[in-house]
Symmetry: none
DNA sequence: TCGGCAATCCGCCAAAAGGAGGAGGCGTTA
DNA sequence: TAACGCCTCCTCCTTTTGGCGGATTGCCGA
């Protein structure tokens, strides 16, 4: 016999979960082992129950599906997660698949397609709603323009220099040595960087620097 | 009744065409109106016969499927063309879909999937073999190869989770709140992360996380 | 010439991080 | 059973940060 596939349902609509559960339980090889009504609860249940697959809604209170997905994959990178949502947004799709969702299904799919998708996802395949396949292909045709130059220009040259050293992990004292400054001066620069970037810790500043290709300066 | 879907088969294997034709003709709503054994011939027939959909092989003499696809779309931009091939190469897939193929199917698919795909493609949907969906998604993820696992898998799940929060700029206290832990526990995790990654500050850890695509997790 | 700004420093303070040790629980594996 | 790794938490300690408040110099443009 085929091993039982243990399923976790995460969706904030109780009725939707109930219906889905009834539908899935009719299959001999499927078992719903848990439910959650928001992302945070979903992450916890995924951790506790170690399901074979998670059906995850996108739009939920407390923690949305995207973040929940990310959290689940941190502790269980091989977990099969199928997004099950109403969002036909190509951005949502791309984000989820990039993050590592095993599939992205719209709630308008029929039962057979869902069942088939569940089994395929557990086997390691990626599955998409037909409509979303088209969106993904469209994305392929228009890569992504992106080129945001930003509040980075509001930084003074010295501040940028300080930031680049900061992003390499130096302490204020080390940065001061490297730039031949007093530590107090470096602290002032760091303060200004934080204020201008609207953040509150040097760690965030470092991440910002890396994401803007500033760490190599 | 549903209108007849007029199909053109382009494949250099005669036997494959025969079999496919027999299969398709069994469907009341499908009709094979023409065949071609190479890309050039395929382009001509597509021009003459104005089919609703073309099933097009990739590897063919005289003119390959990619070029034939491009040619067909010049004169009939709205023509539905399904690539039907043995190539599981992600490059082939991406090229064909960029050029404008309506779908990319491997020859190992079953009949039902093919019939379903034909009807969906004519309706304007994009269709992919399940295996190729995974390849496309993988392409989406390429910016972050994730591949260089390295020291990263020396981290325990909890440490990875801690690291991902750290990379978002959270203080130990905030991470503790997020993970529902004591701050002291988070400090232990951070210490272990620093030791395992061979670095000496949380800033470096955050940078490492970002460069390894772990910050969104 | 004056105001603004970048850049350089001070001191002070509370909070956070880094580092070392120990310790109990829990599950897997030898 | 014992050993091991992981997770959890603790204390005690030093160093680093973040966040104030100043201050001085020099440059540039209105």
């Amino acid at each position: 016999m085929t091993p039982l596939l243990r399923i976790l349902l995460v969706d904030d609509h109780t009725l939707f979960r109930s219906g889905l559960k009834a539908l899935l339980q009719r299959q001999a090889d499927l078992e719903v082992i848990g439910e959650a009504a928001d992302g945070l609860e979903g992450v916890k249940k995924a951790e506790q129950l170690k399901p074979d697959i998670v059906l995850l809604d996108l739009d939920m209170p407390v923690m949305n599906g995207r973040d929940a997905l990310a959290q689940m994959l941190v502790s269980q990178p091989e977990l099969a997660v199928l997004m099950l949502t109403v969002s036909e947004d190509g951005e949502d799709l791309a984000e989820c698949m990039k993050t590592g969702a095993r599939g992205y299904l719209l709630k308008n799919i029929n039962a057979d397609f869902l069942l088939d998708s569940i089994r395929r996802a557990v086997d390691g395949d990626s599955v998409l709603s037909p409509e979303m396949t088209a969106k993904l292909v469209a994305r392929l045709r228009t890569p992504i323009p992106v080129a945001p130059q930003s509040e980075l220009d509001s930084l003074t040259p010295r501040e940028r220099e300080t930031l680049s050293h900061l992003a390499r992990g130096g302490s204020n004292k080390e940065i001061a040595r490297a730039l031949d400054l007093a530590e107090s001066t470096v602290k002032v620069h760091v303060q200004n960087i934080l204020r201008k970037l609207g953040i509150s810790s040097r760690v965030q500043a470092a991440v910002y620097a890396v994401e803007h290709g500033l760490e190599k300066l």
